[in-house]
Symmetry: C2
Subunit: 374 residues, 2 copies
């Protein structure tokens, strides 16, 4: 197997400080928004903001960035317009709320923001309205909500030989090796905001299923293949996608994704690689160089895996994926066609028919080697 190139630790260490750097950027984006509004008012203008339009007519797939981006259409919200006063006020309140979070070193959730508004007599009809305003704020300041301390409820996990340094209060400066707990460490605000200190892995392997994540740990994939293992727990939460991107970039590691062999598993891989249309206003969530390493439709045939018939919904989904610009690659096209031809799907656990260790001892090395040519 070709050895994966890796920059020496020395070079990696120099990158430490990136989290603090980003925090400064987010703060200055927030301050910038406040300054603009303040200036407008001091110049006796009705305050207004402008941001890219997020309607589907303004979403395009960018082949170079390999992700969806927003086009040139913009929306303007001005307090001159009585209809705009409500969302503009909500946006300004949300910006001041997340600035408070930042200042107090607290994190929050989308739901918490909705309820917190009531403490300020800020009115949101329902959580959909407050969620939407948070997406507006992401669009205006160009950073995802995790960057301004609003985290999702879902958690996934990580395990591997990477030493991190916390930046969150109470843990600042403390270090932990992510192989310390073999059930995995949750990926939450503390890990998302940690600096990478030292990495002895040379690749990242993301896995859809919890059972298989545990199998990989037990079979010592982290040692045998020098891998950092990420458990996506189904569709990877945004914090996890952003962590995979950071590890891939800052540590210069290749990423391999293993999911169930069905259109939904494929799409878990795709969202890690090319992001989703509703994050078209953001830039730091996807990992374009990550590889979908399996389980492929052709693996069902090649490995004679126990499989189930595709449902009508599965088939419908495959036809949708065929039209999706993100799937415009040789491998993706070939595998979608294979799914439609063999009309079967298989789960990652199906390899257990050859014994529990087979997936790690046989399938994984064969796949990692084959991936060199993709």
């Amino acid at each position: 197997m070709k050895k994966v190139k890796r920059k020496p630790v020395e070079k990696q260490r120099k990158k430490t400080g990136l989290v603090r750097e980003k925090k400064t950027k987010v703060l200055s984006a927030l301050t910038g928004l406040g300054d603009r509004l303040y200036n407008q008012i001091s110049h006796r203008q009705f305050p207004w903001i402008e941001m890219p339009n997020r309607s589907i007519y303004n979403i395009q797939y960018d082949q170079k960035l390999r992700q969806y981006v927003l086009g040139t259409k913009a929306v303007r919200r001005s307090s001159r317009n009585i209809k705009h006063i409500r969302p503009l006020t909500q946006l300004v309140w949300t910006a001041s709320f997340v600035d408070e979070l930042r200042e107090q070193d607290r994190t929050s959730t989308l739901r918490d923001v909705f309820y917190s508004a009531q403490a300020y007599e800020m009115n949101f009809t329902d959580q959909t309205e407050s969620d939407n305003i948070i997406t507006d704020l992401e669009t205006v300041i160009g950073h995802s909500r995790e960057d301004f301390n609003v985290f999702p409820e879902e958690r996934s996990a990580i395990f591997g030989n990477l030493t991190i340094e916390y930046t969150v209060p109470g843990y600042e400066g403390k270090r932990l090796n992510l192989a310390s707990h073999p059930d995995g460490m949750m990926i939450g605000p503390a890990l998302t905001n940690a600096e990478f200190i030292e990495c002895k892995a040379d690749k990242i392997i993301a896995i859809e299923k919890g059972g298989l994540f545990t199998r990989f740990v037990e079979e010592k994939v982290h040692e045998k293949h020098k891998a950092i293992l990420v458990h996506t727990a189904g569709q990877a939460p945004r914090a996890t996608r952003s962590l995979i991107r950071r590890m891939s970039q800052e540590l210069d590691l290749p990423v391999y994704i293993f999911c169930d062999a069905d259109p939904w598993g494929m799409h878990i891989a795709m969202v890690i690689i090319s992001g989703s249309a509703n994050a078209a206003h953001l830039r730091d969530l996807n990992t374009p160089d990550a590889k979908w390493a399996g389980v492929w439709a052709s693996d069902i045939v090649q490995y004679d895996l126990p499989s189930d018939k595709l449902t009508d919904l599965d088939v419908k989904r495959l036809y949708e994926l065929q039209k999706d610009p993100r799937y415009d690659g040789k491998l993706w096209k070939r595998e979608i066609e294979t799914f439609l031809k063999v009309k079967r799907k298989a789960e990652q656990e199906a390899f257990s028919r050859y014994g529990l260790a087979y997936i790690v001892d046989e399938y994984l090395p064969a796949k990692l080697e084959a991936m060199e040519s993709y």
Copy 2:
């Protein structure tokens, strides 16, 4: 606030070794099953097994144990009966498979067992059939599947000042303090099989929602209230329920459970306390002395929480709970009645209307004090 009694660390440490002790018990139960079958065959009998009947007609609520138990009805499966040959053979194979898992220090999932059967040309029509045989095996040997290395897919998390010692291969003898990672440590096979070494907490607080778990960590509930925090992630997985029971018993700590104020949240607490009917054949999953500390229906009124109308499904569920023997307690009855009277439900996050720290600074201490009288 009354100080909770706690046995000194000295006494706790003596309990170390319980995990290894249990493993010996499970092995001898498995060997016992094999011995019985072997003896039957050497005495020229058609091999047979007998186990308590799990049909709903044989499930009773035991007020003393405060959990469901199986009655005296038994089922016998004999290889004399041609209809019994299939499930009996499947059971014996499953017992030998989990013995192999134990010997190789591997864990597995329900799904893995289903697929693994094919490696042995053992026939299961679908996963429902193999799941059912695993429950049979639990019934026969009197230990839950996690004790013989078959784990669920779901994971929840833990955080707090408890030092554990791993017993799993590669980590044997290694120790970790569960406050090392502020996003929480996943509760999987390694944690389930860990010995407790030193505990500086004096209570356990289980929390339904991930966002609130993070809030509790950030607001330092583990320090301010000397608490071990458990994130149940909705309905607590069995491994988590069993870990809560172990901590409560081995470390002699009181357990408080906080969920959403609705019938589903109540039931998350109840299953931790009194278990479920479909685990009536097991004894080590529930924590009868754990307390449902909130969010109560009466808290919605007392704290004037933002709330939603109960749906028809919620109301139907409340009437079901009224008839459930587990809910035959003063507090439960009062709160079910309050729900039906105020016709509202509220989420844990609703306290954020008074500021993000309110739930920790005001509600939690008031509740912990009030719980002394329940």
